[in-house]
Symmetry: C2
Subunit: 177 residues, 2 copies
């Protein structure tokens, strides 16, 4: 059941969950090459674990992931920290319907305001309030400290290699050149 290699070999000792799933598949469907799961499965597993860690910090500020993203998008916009809902939806990759609800929650919490645009009466402008600005500045600082902690589980060489590989894959996925 276990791998015969010594546990210190760099590539082995993957007695993790993904490896056990792969072993099951190899037994049940020996006709199929399931090696891609090694990468794709672990990538998703890792993303989930990281998300869980990040959400712990959002929660400390009373925010969910969605609200945090919106506040970040507003803060990143720079003075006067305003954006149209449609822009925010595009920036945070959700539908405008989802954005409406996020803004509802943030408005209810007093972190943003909504007003009509002057030049286009059907458009709205979402703006960070003082407390919103203050909150996201503290939360983001804490957030980056948290990401740094998670990243420090890798050496700087590993990090660089990983970032390069992720960037490569992502770009090939999005530009099917």
């Amino acid at each position: 059941m276990e791998h015969p290699h010594p546990p210190s070999h760099p590539h082995s000792r993957p007695s993790d969950r993904v490896a056990r799933i792969q072993a099951d598949w190899r037994r049940e469907r020996p006709d199929i090459d399931i090696t891609p799961q090694g990468v794709i499965g672990r990538l998703h597993r890792l993303a989930d674990r990281l998300t869980a860690e990040l959400c712990l910090v959002y929660g400390r500020y009373g925010l969910g992931e969605g609200e945090f993203d919106v506040l970040c998008a507003l803060r990143r916009a720079g003075e006067p920290f305003e954006r149209a809902p449609g822009e925010l939806a595009a920036h945070t990759m959700v539908t405008t319907g989802a954005m409406t609800k996020r803004i509802d929650r943030l408005e209810r919490a007093g972190l943003v305001t909504r007003r009509r645009s002057d030049d286009d009466q059907r458009g709205r402008i979402v703006a960070l309030t003082g407390p919103g600005r203050e909150l996201i500045d503290r939360a983001f600082t804490d957030h980056m400290r948290n990401e740094r902690r998670l990243l420090d589980l890798l050496t700087s060489t590993e990090t660089e290699t990983l970032e390069a590989l992720l960037t490569t894959w992502l770009s090939r996925l999005e530009n099917p050149a």
Copy 2:
């Protein structure tokens, strides 16, 4: 605004979304080191893109991600393709409440059956039906072909390096040694 490096340099030309976000933060919060986002942001972005691609295949078989996972867990179990709901929940990392609903949907579609356990009358046993078995065998074959296609955007060296890095990070995250 754009990076001054030539676009062919291996590490640069990350004029992707994540890079633009980083540029915004550097302007707005020069006091904070936002390099961790380069890795963590792209990892999440990539995971999302991959998930979207994978869901296309699930959809071809009338399955959502959750249902697909459950059918896989049952199929992987081997003959007679049975498991308790609690086991399935543990294997697929959702709560038992979520599992109940997934099984409801699969049962309604005729892909699994539910019966009481003989030795423990409060336990249930979920079993793949004939059509369920047939469906997941076809769907999984197609799924792996799809994952292979996505993975082939990387060279085999890149793949190996990436898998090793993901495994390392995941293991350090889960065993805070």
